[in-house]
Each structure stands twice: as C-alpha cells, then as structure tokens.
C-alpha cells in the first residue's frame, strides 16, 4: 500500500495532539492550497496555535501526517527541517521578538542569518518592510521593549514577511490593533498573498478581518475541523457552530466553560 501524496501547499492529515490527559487536537484534516489565503477561526483555547506549531515542528504531533509541497515533514529534524522552514514566515501570537536585538535586526534576522545577506542591505530592506506595516524609520533602532503591544505585533509581522517566504502563518495578526490599523494589516496580508505564489494561513477571532483576508475559512472546534468552505458561503454554512461563532452568541451548541 503506498501512501497518497499531497498536492496542496500544506496539508494536515489526522493530526492529533494531547497534553497529559487533555486532548487538544483530535484528528485535524486541513489543506492550504497554493496561493490561497486560509483563515482558521475557533474559540479561545481550541488549539489553533498548537495546530500551526505542529506544522512548523515546534510541537511534535502524537499522530497524523503533515505535508509541505507534497513531502511528509512530520518527523523531520536537523538540516532537512531547517531547509523546510526556509519556506515559512511566522507571526507568533505574542510576537516573540528578540529583545536583545533592535527592531531592525529583528526584521532583518531571516535575511542576515538565514540568507547570509550583508547587514547594510538587510537593514534597508528591514526599514522598507517596517514602512509596509506602518512603522517609520525612527522605530528601527529602538529595542522591542520600548514598543507598545500593537507595535510589537506589527514588527513581528514585518519579520514574518521580510524574507519573502512562500508560506506565511499569521497567529492573530490584528489582535490588539485599533480598527484602522487592523484594516491596514488586512490590506497588507491581502496584497502579500496576491503576489504570486504566497500561501497564507491566518488565525483570528476577528470576523471582519477573516472576511476580508480569507479565500477560504475553516473552523476548529473540539480538536477537529467542523466546517471548511469558501468565504462567500460562511453566512449560509448551515453549521450551527459556525453560526454561533460568527454571530458571537453565548447561547448555542458551543458551551463556554464558565461557572455561573
């Protein structure tokens, strides 16, 4: 029996992950097609961040397979993994900026360390990329600790896109930003994906942002993808979990674990 290979840019098949007794991912199947912008929605703590960390190999899944460009990458390590990760850019939910380096070196990090670019040229690209996320050149030499939360997020975003990766993961790109800046970032994500070849997977709670940036939306609930479809169909999904989520109702099949 030969395994079916994957034609998608990134594909997860039956990915499971538990921490102790707590099952977080319970067989996730998801495809990110080439050049597509996929948004994953889902309640807080449902395992969205864990899911993308599994793809990047930061967290090892217990079961299941992950494919990138048709190649299985689930248990890669060492140089093969480094080569695989060269295709990726990642915005961490909490930005995860290197606090020992100034802002511009954070943004230029992938260019200098990963690509071996000279510091001077990398700095120019970094300043230019900072401009795209609405940060002026005066921010470049500050340290990350001197920035506000939303500014840190935007620096993280600039770091994720600076080295022109093929696949970009955005973990809550607009959380903590004001509505206007959130829209600027949405536009940036759309234009980044529109450039040929870039595939994006974003995680968000923000339905306005999801509708704007997504070609396709998937919903994660209790460790599984419960709905997956084109953005236009989200309002007529006929799925009660999706309905409850996009309308933000407390009443419905999704029970929040709060004690009254």
């Amino acid at each position: 029996m030969t395994k079916q290979t994957s034609t998608a840019k990134v594909e997860l098949r039956g990915v499971k992950k538990r921490f102790g007794n707590k099952v977080v991912l319970d067989g996730v199947d998801l495809k990110l097609e080439h050049g597509q912008s996929l948004v994953v929605i889902g309640g807080s703590g449902t395992g969205k961040s864990v899911m993308i960390k599994c793809v990047l190999g930061i967290i090892r899944p217990d079961e299941g397979e992950i494919y990138v460009d048709g190649k299985e990458v689930t248990r890669l390590s060492g140089r093969a993994r480094d080569a695989m990760l060269k295709k990726f850019g990642m915005l961490f939910q909490a930005a995860a900026l290197f606090d020992s380096l100034p802002v511009w070196e954070n943004v230029a990090f992938g260019l200098i360390q990963g690509r071996g670019m000279g510091r001077k040229q990398a700095r120019e690209i970094a300043v230019e990329t900072l401009g795209k996320v609405g940060l002026g050149p005066e921010v470049a030499k500050l340290s990350p600790a001197e920035l506000s939360g939303g500014m840190q997020k935007r620096v993280g975003l600039a770091r994720a896109i600076a080295s022109d990766p093929e696949i970009i993961f955005f973990d809550e790109p607009t959380t903590g930003l004001d509505p206007i800046m959130a829209d600027v970032i949405n536009d940036l994500i759309v234009s980044t994906v529109d450039r040929l070849g870039v595939s994006a997977l974003s995680i968000t709670h923000d339905m306005v942002s999801a509708r704007k940036i997504a070609d396709r939306i998937a919903m994660l609930y209790q460790g599984k993808i419960v709905w997956d479809g084109p953005t236009e169909e989200i309002d007529k999904s006929g799925n009660e979990y999706v309905e409850q989520f996009i309308h933000g109702r407390a009443e419905g099949p999704i029970k929040m674990e709060v004690r009254k």
Binding site: L56, K86, A94, L97, F98, D99, S100, G114, S163
Partner: protein, 257 residues
C-alpha cells in the same frame, strides 16, 4: 507500596534528565563542529562572561590569598614553620583555590544570567521564533556561550592566581613581618608549571560546566516567570555542585599519576 513507587519515579526522572542532558551535550558539540560559527556572538560572550567577571573574581581571589596567608601563619606557629607561608599560599591558590573560587563566583554570576536569559527566551517563544527563521538555536545561543566560557575561564583563573598570591603577599609583608623580596622569590621558586597548568585545565572544565548548566536549564525552562526563576536557581546549584565534584575528580586524576 507508595514508597517503592516514589523511588521508581525518582529513578526514572533522574535517568530521563541524564539522557536529555547527554543529547543536549551531543547536539552542542556537533553544533560547534559544523558551520556556521557565530564569531560576533562568541566575542560578545567573551566580554560578558570574562571581562565583566574580573572585578568579582579579582576581589574574592585577593581576600582568599590574604586569609590563606594569615591562617597558615597562625596554624604553623605550633610547629615553628611560619617560613613556609609563601610556598603553601602559592600552591593552594594555583592548584585549588584560584580555580575553585573563580569557578564558583562565575557560576553564581554567569550560569544564573545565562539561564535567566535563555529561560525568558524559551517562555516567550523567542527560541521557537529562531527556528522559524532557519537559525539553529543550539548554534546561535548555546555554542557561543560554551566556547566563550571554556576560553575565558582559564584566563580569569590565571588572573585570579596572580591576585591571590598578591593578596597573600600584602598580608604577609604588611602584618606578618615578611620581607617582600624573599616572599616573592620563595613563591616563584617553589611553584611549578604543573601546579599552574593543573589549575588552568580545571578552569576550562569549570567553564564548560558553567555554560552548560546555564544553557541546559534555561533551554528547558517551562511556564512563566516562576519557571525561569527555578531554572536560574537550578543552574547555579547544579553548576556549583558539579564544579566541586569535578574538582575532586580532576585533582585525583592529575596528581595521583
């Protein structure tokens, strides 16, 4: 029953730690052998580990040399062997006290700082971010610290040795009535290359232990601020214990051939 279960659990945990530490050492050493090597970062760490430790190491070595001279003088009074103060001071400092005192002081300063820094990077996902930027965190964070620490500790100890002997000299000449020239001549004539080298070899090993314990504990810290705090404490405690244990082993290997 519970008693045996506890023993079992503790034993398993200990073996797991040893296994994990061995893997960590192996990947650090392979990281050292394969390019890229981050010279800039090694330079930075030499400055941080070596240069900024000089005041602490110098002061402790000075007082240790001084008190050693005083104790030997008082103690050897019973045998009328006061004249041997310079010889015993120089031997004690170069063979044992120089490396051990410097090792312990640097363990307190540097192992703690490394564990806190890497621990914070771990819990704020900066180490994960490094891998997503195709940078091996072992090579980028651990190797420079290990290399810098192994290289600088012998230098620090060489300085500590000189300052320690000088401390003894000051006490001996200022308050014990020794002649300065005779004291120094006796010290220099008595000490052998082997005494000094043995101390420097020890220092290199201690340097390895210090950086290793700082990096290992920082790298594996979990949780938030509390986890980083625990990692820092563990780094200093394990580094200090391992330094004293390694000191015994090295002494018996070097001097009982």
């Amino acid at each position: 029953m519970n008693f045996f279960a506890t023993i079992g659990r503790v034993t398993l945990a200990a073996f797991q730690q040893i296994g994990q530490l061995s893997l960590f050492i192996v990947s650090s050493v392979t990281g050292l052998l394969r390019p890229p090597i981050y010279w800039r970062l090694i330079g930075q760490q030499v400055l941080r580990i070596g240069y900024y430790s000089l005041p602490v190491v110098g002061l402790t070595a000075f007082f240790t040399g001084g008190v050693l001279a005083l104790q030997i003088y008082i103690g050897s009074d019973r045998y009328g062997a006061e004249a041997f103060v310079p010889q015993i001071v120089v031997l004690g400092i170069t063979r044992e006290l120089g490396p051990v005192i410097a090792g312990l002081m640097v363990a307190g300063r540097v192992a703690a700082a490394i564990a806190a820094e890497l621990g914070t990077m771990r819990v704020t996902e900066q180490i994960d971010a490094l891998t997503t930027l195709s940078t091996n965190p072992i090579k980028y964070l651990v190797v420079p610290r290990l290399v810098a620490s192994v290289l600088t500790l012998p230098l620090l100890v060489a300085i500590a040795d000189s300052i320690g002997v000088f401390g003894g000299y000051i006490v001996a000449t200022k308050s014990l009535g020794f002649n300065g020239y005779v004291y120094l001549k006796n010290s220099v004539d008595f000490v052998t290359n082997e005494d000094v080298y043995s101390g420097l070899i020890k220092a290199a090993v201690f340097g390895f232990i210090i950086a290793l314990m700082g990096c290992y504990n920082g790298f594996n810290s979990k949780g938030g601020a509390q986890g980083v705090g625990a990692a820092t404490t563990n780094a200093v405690v394990t580094a200090s214990i391992l330094i004293l244990a390694a000191n015994y082993v090295l002494t018996s290997v070097i001097f009982t051939r």
